[in-house]
Every structure is written in structure tokens, then in C-alpha cells.
Symmetry: C2
Subunit: 258 residues, 2 copies
């Protein structure tokens, strides 16, 4: 399993990924799922991948080594892509290429051709963008209304994002809320686990301001988890107990009904 | 979609269900999914259902009208079941009966034979039990270690249960935490919605202490939602901002990697 979340706020981009992979529950390993391409002052691109690891790694190889554009015969890579949109299209083409190569065999061997990629960043002269690219190679982009995208095990970590993040959230707070979202996911699904990779990039900086791996036991994240747990306990304890009592049988929806 | 949660704590049983059904996203309706059979002083049984509504309603009809026991030729209903275990088996048999009748046709018309039932309660002379019964008619029971079971859209509401509920939780707090879990689910999935049906039954009372439908706008639940939202906001604001900075490229897992 995997959990990755990307957030774009007014100040910039936050991307967070776990590192746990499992080929069956008895074969757990750590693989990096967050990948950064940085040419300081020129471009920063961040990819987070989920799904079949052989597929996502093959996609990364293709966008790094280059794919020939059949119209122009030019070999295109993420480094040569002229815009984030073109770069997202390139990743989509890489996914389709891997599907052509491996899709049929994978499905014959009871595997699934299953990949999703968060792709965020900015190229000089263009805007900061954050896309989610699907197995079919198509993609959607984050909006000001919903400034985050998730891949993998997304449900456990969604409630805090729904409540706490908007486009005007401070970028450090967006990182913090993203880490709370990751904590909720790790707590409810053992298939998502430490270490956690994070990247923060401000708009128009074209470089990572933060690029960090949070290892197990790291003091800040440990403290965040403890504080969040304590706050949730305090929050539900502070809510008054329900006032409900045995219902009036004459009200609709009440009473013995089987 | 549906969300139902059942909790057993030292003092007794709490069961909560939403009422929204949808046959496609443009066909939303309200159907009761929580059903109570109560013979005060003798037995209380509570069923919460999820999945295909025609299947769950057929199952309810069977356990109410009775199913003939092929060994004894006696027609058995939930009212005649001698124990909660036997009653859970009866529900399982009802599910298999509906599968025999409707399963093939449903699947031919691109429907799924999909049903899950939470079944809790107590019969005089026996213990309080809480089961989750699957589409195959098999079932599991709650334990002291994990004192809750969920059916339907279970992920959004699980983190608060994982953190806040144990077997020694006060029964009123268990209801409150169950309602917070329901709130988190409704907030993240529009397929789960008001009104909400709740039942609380204390051990050895053999009747419902609380049997209530929470309608939209009901003051306590509205207040709970507001307080919980405010507390979550306060909780994440109170956590210090992350201390991370641009990483040392010599550390493993850091640096430019594509």
C-alpha cells in the first residue's frame, strides 16, 4: 500500500509520501516513492508514485532516459519538457508505453496494471502546477477550490484535509496538516509506513526549500503524533454527552420495527 | 453508500446507522437501515444493514417471517432463536436463501450480490453479542481487543475509533465517539447522510435505553459537529510548525534522484 498527498497553497507546493511496499503481507520493504528533479533557479519537479512498483519504476526510467516524440523524432525527458503540462503528458505517454510493454503479461499473471502519480512543480516562465496522472495516462489538476490531491490509501487521511486546508493556508501549516493526514493513515493501515519523504517548494523559487526524510523516532514527527492523539482525546472528552433517551414511539422512524 | 458502526463496551451496546441510499448518484433516498426487535425484559436485537437494499430487505423479511429448519421442519425467526449465535446463523441462512433466489439474476443484470449486516443484542440467559455477517452468510464477532465493527464506508470514521474507544469506555462516550465517527464519514462521503438512527442497550437490561432518530438540524448533533470541527482546527494550530530544512545531500534518501 501507499499514501501520498500533494498540496498547493498560495505560497507553494507540499508533497509527502510514505515508503512502504508490500508484495503480499509477508513481504514488506522500503522503497522511495517520492522523486525530485531539481535544477535550482530553472525548474523543480516532484513525482510521487503509487501502484505496482515495477510499473512506476519503469515510468520513471522512461521519463529520465527519454521517449521519442513520433512527430518530431526528438527524444523528450522531464529535463527538456518546455512546460509542466507537456511534462505531465510525457509521464502519461510513459505510462502508456509501459502498458504496451508489460500490461498484457501482468494481467495474465494475475497482476494489475495499476499506477497513479502525483506530479507537481514549476518551470521558469510557467506557473506552479500539481497533477494526478492515472493508469490510462490521463490526468487532472488541483484547483483553488480543492487544493490537494491524494493517491493510494487516501480515505483515512482525507477528513483532516477536508477540514483544515484551503488555498490560503500557510505553507508550513500545509506541511503540518499533510503530516497529520499521513499519521492518520499510518495508524489505520499498516501497509503505509515510515520513513516519510517530504518536499516543500515555494512558488517562483524553482528549488526545494525543504527536502527531507523523516525517519522512525524523529523527534518532531513523534511529538506531532503524540500531540494530535492527545488533542483528539481532549476534543472528544470536551464534547458533552448525548441527551438522547428512549424515543417516543409515535415519531416516524422510531419504535419496534421487526 | 452506507455507514454503520456497532460498539460493545463493558456497560453495553451502541449501534448507529445512517439512512441514505443511492441507486446512482442522481437517485438519492432515505431508507431505514437500523432495525430493532425488542421484547422488554426478554430480548433485544439490533440489525444494521449495508449493501444492495433489495437484498438486505429480503433478508429482513426472511428472518421476520421465518425460515424452515430442514432438519426439524420448525420455522425459525429472530423471535424464536434460542441464542444470539443461533440468531446470527439464521441471518446467515437468510442471506444464502436470498442468494439462491436472486444472486444469479442480480449478477446477470450487472448488479452485485452485496450485503453486510451488523447484528447485536442479548437474549435472557445469554451474553450480549455483536456480529458482522458477510455476503456468504459467515460472520465474525467483536472482541474485547477491538470492541467495534463497521460496515459500508468505514475508512473515514475509523481513525477516531482506533484512538478513542476501548472496552472500558463509558457507554455514553461510546455513543458520542460513534457519532463523531459518523460525522467524519458524512463529511467526506456525500453518499452517507442524515437522519441518523441510534440504539443504546445496557447489558442485562434486555431493552433499548436509547432508541432515537437524529434529524438534520437537531441541536445536540449540530453542536457536536461544530465542537469537533473547532477542536480539530485548534488541535492542528496548537502543534508547532515543522523544523525541517533543505536536506544534507549526503544522507541516504536525500537529494536529486531523477
Amino acid at each position: 500500500m501507499t499514501y501520498c498527498v500533494g498540496l498547493t497553497v498560495r505560497e507553494g507546493l507540499v508533497m509527502i509520501a510514505d515508503t512502504r511496499t508490500n508484495a503480499g503481507i509477508d513481504n514488506i520493504a522500503t522503497f522511495r516513492k517520492l522523486h525530485v528533479l531539481e535544477e535550482p533557479g530553472e525548474r523543480i519537479m516532484v513525482l510521487c508514485t503509487s501502484g505496482n512498483l515495477s510499473v512506476s519504476q519503469a515510468v520513471l526510467n522512461h521519463v529520465q532516459e527519454g521517449i521519442e516524440n513520433t512527430d518530431t523524432q526528438v527524444v523528450e525527458t522531464l529535463r527538456t519538457a518546455p512546460s509542466m503540462f507537456k511534462a505531465a503528458q510525457l509521464i502519461g505517454r510513459a505510462i502508456r508505453l509501459v502498458y504496451e510493454t508489460d500490461g498484457k503479461s501482468l494481467e495474465e499473471h494475475s497482476g494489475r496494471f495499476d499506477v497513479a502519480i502525483l506530479f507537481g512543480g514549476q518551470i521558469k516562465g510557467g506557473k506552479m502546477r500539481l497533477f494526478m496522472i492515472y493508469s490510462a495516462g490521463n490526468f487532472i489538476e488541483v484547483t483553488v477550490d480543492t487544493p490537494y490531491l491524494q493517491i493510494g490509501e487516501h480515505k483515512y487521511g482525507k477528513p483532516i484535509l477536508d477540514r483544515a486546508v484551503n488555498f490560503n493556508t500557510d505553507i508550513q501549516d500545509a506541511l503540518k496538516i499533510g503530516l497529520i493526514s499521513m499519521d492518520s493513515t499510518m495508524r489505520s493501515n499498516l501497509g503505509v509506513g515510515m520513513p516519510i519523504d517530504i518536499v516543500v517548494a515555494r512558488r517562483d523559487a524553482f528549488r526545494a526549500e525543504i527536502k527531507h526524510r523523516i525517519e522512525p523516532g524523529e523527534p518532531y514527527f513523534h511529538d506531532l503524533r503524540e500531540r494530535w492523539s492527545a488533542a483528539l482525546r481532549a476534543a472528544h472528552i470536551a464534547i458533552p454527552r448525548p441527551p438522547y433517551a428512549v424515543a417516543d414511539k409515535n415519531r416516524p422512524g422510531e419504535g419496534v420495527d421487526i
